[in-house]
Symmetry: C2
Subunit: 271 residues, 2 copies
Amino acid sequence: MNKKPIGIFDSGVGGLTVAREIMRLLPDESIIYLGDTANLPYGEKSAEIITGYSVANTEFLLEFGIKVLVVACNTASSVALDFLKRSYDIPIIGVIEPAVKGAIYSTRNRKIGVIGTNRTIKSDVYARVICSMDSGMEVFSRACPLFVPLIEDNFIEHEATKLIASEYLREFIENGIDSLILGCTHYPLISEIIAGILPSVKLIDSASSTARDLQSVLETNRMLNESGRKPEKHRFFATDITDKLDTLAKRILGFDMSFGEVCLKSRQAKN
Amino acid sequence: MNKKPIGIFDSGVGGLTVAREIMRLLPDESIIYLGDTANLPYGEKSAEIITGYSVANTEFLLEFGIKVLVVACNTASSVALDFLKRSYDIPIIGVIEPAVKGAIYSTRNRKIGVIGTNRTIKSDVYARVICSMDSGMEVFSRACPLFVPLIEDNFIEHEATKLIASEYLREFIENGIDSLILGCTHYPLISEIIAGILPSVKLIDSASSTARDLQSVLETNRMLNESGRKPEKHRFFATDITDKLDTLAKRILGFDMSFGEVCLKSRQAKN
């Protein structure tokens, strides 16, 4: 029985796909969301800088008394999660382990594909986590750096996006994977295009896997809001408000909302 | 007779197209280049944040005793140039006025097109500068936010880039412009694709216009290095070193080089 909010951060609006799944699965919980839009995209930056941003984001959310933190950003989950877990006392969930568990559960031929930003793929974090859970898996990874800008410029159903996706995903046809982890929170928005190119591959979307993991963490820690009272309203913040922010957010969430602006002092992490 | 270096900054490597033209036109000068890669892209961020970054970049370059500053970034030129000119004593050149002069000189039917990032186009700075120089011009603007990521992911000659460019540039065929300002320093790298879609339109590339403007500013202020001695070596810095940085930089400059890493404290501008 715990009415405190759930904290979620991402570099931008992509993490709202995770927030949306949490709202669906846990309708009695309230959410404080932070998009670090002043510093996006995280995908191309160094681990040190991303860890510094992640610390600043976490400290902002802690001021709201959050009971659990969801790092709804693949890049930050891949390079900063361990540091955050060592530094703070509340339960902290990334988007990587939940997707990995989903892929291991799904695969039949033990060949798993992973797509993500340059930084996520280069960190090789998915392959490492998959192999730590089941060393018999074969993992094939591919960076797809254009997917986020294509989605954000609303080329979601455009022929160019299909061509770029074909180029990026071609090797997965040759590799014969049967499960593909969408290792970036934006990617569920183009899952139909991906499914069109890889029709017999099961797509593992980290948003719904993460929401299920969160539910189980809250249950285990007896932290669910079971007061029977309506949750507080969700609140959304961003470190830089730009024009298309609300439009994109509404497209993802399916309801009207708007961001409050905050200014964070991002510090370099001292690890 | 002045052997001090020329300072150049951009949000990333795009400004190297300007550096390259300066090296060609003024081979006796030396350059200190700063790419603020920790904070790129500037295109989607607010004017306040971009001005803060620009101040930090300028102060870093001033420590090298630069005699002139080139703001080789359209976004920063469009929102921060006036503030920088008010704040510092050395001559400061942006990339906007030189391109505008080039377009006004080139057009015959007085219809000028402008392409750039979201922020540059939204700031409407090109239209304002064009009209302040010649109020009889018609200006047609279009944001092309995918061009930079397409270039950076090496989709330079890809069919998808042609499709996206056709989508972005279609309206210029209807508008009947005869001159198009490439309002982003990356765009000269895809000028062949743009020329293929708009074959009868003269493309105005800010890199060479800016280099010519710089030459004239240095002449007027008697600041050219006429000592007859070889210039100091050029030096390149970036606020975050990523893998593809050197590769992209070499592709633009055509010679081997590497970046030194610097950490800047970006401040909000107090204007």
